[in-house]
């Protein structure tokens, strides 16, 4: 490991400024007391944060996004665990092909998924239903869930399971008492990443969200395309604060880079 030159440190400072500037600006603007986008030059006001609470549109969308993230992450993880077990533990015909198939939504642009889900849900009459939204989100987050769960299973020392079997445990007991507790950290990481991905998704959801099932990012997107006001800034600032707390917790338990490495490619 070598030391960074002063030039490198200046570069780093500029880079971090670039990364944080848009988020910091949102947080500052959110505290304005004026009716338009401006810096809070004459003191901090919570006026626009109170305004969020008076706006049921956003509150409803927030709850819907929470429930959607919760449902789709849970479904994704609970089908990713058995699938990962199959990939990690068995050699079977078509293994590589099925695995590539499960990761393939990563190769499909969300806009393409969006238009496809729109036709599909309309055709089967699920357009506007919560469950329809959940299933489409499961497809989007499955690759992430699968990657994290799979890597925690392949990293597992299999001899612990052999040990349990030799001590008299049946297959099911081995899974419940040894395998599952040992992969829980990976599964939980997969769940969190899935939840966040679902909660943040906008491109695909723009197509499948109906007026009664609009997610928060979609609602915000629609709002921004019409007007950019302090209300949307305070809402965004609130999301940034919540994300920061989640992020600090995640970083403490897993290391952010370990979780997000699963997000690339």
């Amino acid at each position: 490991m070598r030391k960074n030159t002063p030039l490198a440190l200046v570069f780093n400072a500029l880079f971090l400024t670039f990364m944080l500037a848009p988020l910091v600006v949102i947080c500052l603007v959110a505290f304005t007391s004026k009716g338009y986008i401006s810096l809070p030059t004459d003191g901090f006001s919570l006026r626009w944060f109170r305004a969020i609470l008076d706006n049921p549109h956003f509150i409803d969308a927030f709850y819907l996004s929470l429930m959607l993230g919760f449902a789709s992450a849970t479904i994704a993880v609970s089908i990713a665990v058995p699938a990962s077990l199959a990939f990690a533990r068995y050699k079977f015909t078509g293994r590589a092909a099925i695995m590539a198939f499960f990761l393939s939504p990563l190769m499909v642009p969300h806009i393409v998924l969006g238009v496809s889900f729109l036709s599909f849900l309309t055709k089967i009459g699920w357009y506007g239903s919560f469950m329809g939204l959940v299933f489409t989100h499961v497809i989007i987050i499955m690759p992430y869930a699968l990657r994290l769960v799979l890597s925690s299973i392949t990293g597992l020392d299999q001899s612990a399971e052999s040990a349990a079997a030799s001590l008299g445990a049946s297959n099911w007991v081995v899974f419940r008492r040894v395998t599952l507790p040992m992969i829980i950290p990976g599964v939980a990481g997969g769940w969190v990443l899935s939840f966040i991905t679902s909660f943040d998704e906008v491109t695909m959801s723009v197509f499948v969200a109906s007026p009664s099932t609009t997610t928060l990012p979609v609602r915000m997107y629609e709002h921004i395309t019409e007007t950019i006001d302090p209300l949307i800034a305070s809402l965004s600032a609130s999301l940034i604060f919540i994300t920061m707390i989640v992020m600090l917790i995640l970083d403490r338990f897993y290391g952010l880079d370990k979780i997000l490495v699963g997000k690339g490619k």
Partner: protein, 291 residues
């Protein structure tokens, strides 16, 4: 160890992946096939909208109309520009992070990767506030007397590139960072002990070894820019249409689903083509050194 493989039945792995497989076929494959078929239908507002059948009309329209040519070309140029800037800025940043003490490293990592957890809508909003004609950058520069009239960034290629680089550069840093972690920390010292200058070590020893990370990072950035929707839509608007926003307008604006489907299919094919040929190229180039 495949010790259990011969004690358990061959059906088990299929049963274990069955739930996921069913879901994928039902909710992923079928919708994609439907879009593919839809792209061959026709749209005629006077005869009641979408007419099923088989016609190449939508494809000929997209491929022959200069309006669409411009949109596809713009998307391609945008993707190239964003990728180049992500490589030029993200690679050195990853290397600087790599050389930091672990405390500073984790703080900087949080600042760089944290934005990934925030919705792209929020991040784009930040740029809209910053670069709007009465945005903060312009207001500050004018207040300081550095410029006389606002610089035009909103609804320009420059503004779009800045915002998309911001949105996607974490993937680049992450990818190079992962490659740097595989680097034996002693190779740099070894290079220097053999008489190479710091710059030579960087160019001849470090860079070639992290090249696969740079390449896979650029692939991610390129593919995600090519299909980006929210950022171009908010910052580019009607004036700077890209492929994704055009498909959106066809679907939800003019309601010409078949034409939108054809655009989507072309985007998907281009995406798959670029990803697979790029992977082939990387594999061929690095097969010997990294297998």
């Amino acid at each position: 160890m495949s010790q259990q493989s011969d004690t358990l039945s061959t059906a088990r792995p299929y049963l274990l992946s069955a739930p996921a497989l069913l879901l994928y076929v039902g909710v992923f494959m079928i919708p994609l096939i439907m879009t593919f078929m839809l792209s061959f239908y026709t749209f005629d507002i006077t005869r009641g909208g979408i007419l099923s059948g088989f016609s190449l009309e939508n494809y000929t329209e997209v491929l022959s109309d200069s309006y669409f040519h411009k949109i596809f070309l713009r998307t391609f140029v945008l993707s190239i520009l964003v990728t180049v800037f992500c490589v030029l800025l993200g690679t050195p940043e990853a290397y600087i992070l790599h050389n930091m003490s672990s405390r500073w490293k984790s703080i900087c990592m949080l600042a760089i990767l944290g934005p990934l957890l925030v919705s792209v809508v929020v991040r784009t909003l930040g740029w809209a506030i910053l670069i709007g004609s009465d945005g903060l950058i312009n207001n500050t520069l004018m207040a300081l007397g550095l410029i006389d009239e606002p610089i035009k960034l909103m609804f320009t290629m420059t503004g779009l590139v800045i915002a998309l680089v911001h949105v996607l550069i974490p993937f680049m840093v992450l990818s190079v960072w992962a490659a740097l972690q595989k680097l034996d920390p002693m190779v740099e010292s070894a290079g220097q002990s053999l008489g190479a200058s710091s710059f030579t070590v960087l160019r001849k020893i470090v860079l070639p070894q992290i090249m696969p990370g740079v390449l896979s990072g650029s692939l991610i950035v390129f593919a995600l820019t090519a299909s980006a929707f929210a950022t171009p839509s908010i910052l580019g608007g009607r004036r700077l249409k890209v492929v994704a926003t055009t498909a959106y307008d066809e679907y939800l604006g003019t309601l010409n689903w078949p034409l939108g489907a054809a655009i989507a299919v072309l985007l998907l094919l281009a995406n798959i083509l670029i990803i697979t040929s790029y992977n082939k190229f990387i594999e061929r180039k690095y097969a010997q050194a990294f297998k």
